[in-house]
């Protein structure tokens, strides 16, 4: 496929193109100048509601906004309930919202990056990627976004949690959502003290409180290339590479892999024995 920049694409055409990408079509991500904003945080922290409010504010500021909302695929059936759209309380010609499933990947789907580029090349000014509800280790999103937002809510932990490693180190800014909840003031002060160098915003996404300030910040943001970015990219590349190597392995050894899964589940084998057997299968390639 040779689709490159095309700002006259209809929503229908863009949607069809995204489906092809999702189904594995080989497509070189087109060039795009659009700002990519990654939004991550624990399940229930209010990412989807916040994104709905941000999208409304940004569209009202005259921007064309793309949203890619990722939810997990079932490890049992392969199906998924993609529920982020429920929080979106409007549709607009300048808003393109697409729900995608992880399809075997972790916090973000393999195709999210390419889809963001396609939306950018189709004339959208800012692309917001919502990750699966994540935890401390889900920071791959920082590698593919120009600006990464970590959404927290009061009771996300004490000052010891703030000392821990992972996403909280890598995120460019923290959004304290549900900031009308009891205990929010104390939590905000603690965040400020723990991260004096970080941008910290307070929002109540449900009522669009604090969202105007946050979206103005997003629009004026200039991407920073520093050691944090490098760490995120290292992690993302490693994740993609593991995925590629594993799919290659599965292509040749799916039966052996499934046999080992069943054997461990039936307690006929220890997990480490299964790993050794699978490594042996790999070397026979």
């Amino acid at each position: 496929m040779d689709e490159s920049n095309n700002t006259s694409r209809s929503k229908r055409e863009i949607a069809k193109l995204i489906t092809q990408i999702e189904n594995g079509a080989e497509l070189t991500p087109p060039h795009s100048e659009a700002t990519v904003v990654g939004v991550t945080g624990a399940p229930g922290s209010g990412k989807s509601t916040l994104i709905s409010a941000m999208a409304r504010a940004l569209v009202d500021k005259g921007k064309k906004i793309g949203v890619i909302a990722v939810d997990p695929s079932s490890p049992i059936s392969g199906g998924a309930v993609l529920g982020d759209r429920i929080r979106l309380n409007f549709t607009h010609e300048n808003l393109f919202f697409r729900s995608i499933a992880t399809r075997g990947m972790r916090s973000i789907s393999k195709s999210a990056y390419t889809i963001a580029k396609v939306l950018g090349a189709s004339g959208y000014d800012m692309i917001i990627i919502e990750t699966v509800g994540g935890g401390q280790e889900d920071y791959e999103i920082c590698a593919i976004s120009d600006l990464s937002l970590l959404v927290l809510c009061p009771e996300s932990g004490d000052s010891i949690q703030m000392l821990k490693s992972g996403i909280i180190e890598l995120a460019d800014a923290i959004v304290l959502n549900k900031s009308d909840m009891e205990g929010s003031e104390i939590f905000y002060t603690m965040l400020k003290n723990s991260f004096p160098e970080k941008h910290i915003f307070r929002t109540v996404a449900l009522y669009s409180k604090g969202v105007d300030e946050l979206t103005s910040f997003m629009l004026s943001w200039k991407s920073v290339e520093d050691h944090r970015k490098e760490a995120a990219i290292r992690s993302f590349l490693a994740m993609m590479l593991k995925e590629e190597l594993f799919s290659g392995f599965l292509k040749e050894n799916r039966d052996v892999f499934e046999e080992n899964v069943r054997a461990v589940a039936k307690r006929e084998k220890e997990i480490y024995e299964a790993i050794e057997d699978l490594m042996r299968a790999k070397h026979k390639l």
Partner: protein, 132 residues
């Protein structure tokens, strides 16, 4: 390739336990299910179905307003060049209305007494015919 299905609730009907049960059953059958949530307008539903590029759109209405709302969704999809999306419907829909809705292009109507399994099996059969 996962089948993508949207479950949508047009109009002023806040009862969505059935829609959620169905969404979960379709997930367990290996499909990717997008649920719009309650109280959507026909134009919001059509716009969402286009952006999500769904194979099947399931409309559910328990309020009795299906004869005014469902045809509007069909019109809105046509206006967006998306009338190839297969529409199925469920809810408190009498037999005589079912026939009228089918004549308008709704592929199948599941009225009171329909089982979750029937609906899941029907959508699966659509997938088979789609993949030839």
């Amino acid at each position: 390739m996962s089948l993508r299905v949207m479950i949508a609730k047009p109009g002023l009907d806040g009862h969505d336990r059935g829609a959620k049960v169905l969404a979960r059953a379709l997930r367990d059958a290996g499909m990717e299910v997008i649920y719009t949530g309650i109280r959507r307008t026909p134009s919001e539903i059509a716009e969402a179905a286009v952006e999500e590029d769904v194979d099947v759109l399931g409309l559910n209405c328990l309020s009795g307003a299906h004869m005014s709302l469902f045809p509007k969704v069909i019109e809105e999809l046509k206006a967006r060049g998306a009338d190839d999306i297969i529409i199925i419907a469920s809810g408190i829909i009498p037999e005589e209305d079912s026939e009228k809705l089918k004549a308008l292009g709704i592929r199948e109507v599941f009225g009171p007494g329909s089982s979750v399994k029937e609906i899941v099996d029907f959508i699966k059969s659509l997938d088979k015919s789609r993949n030839g």
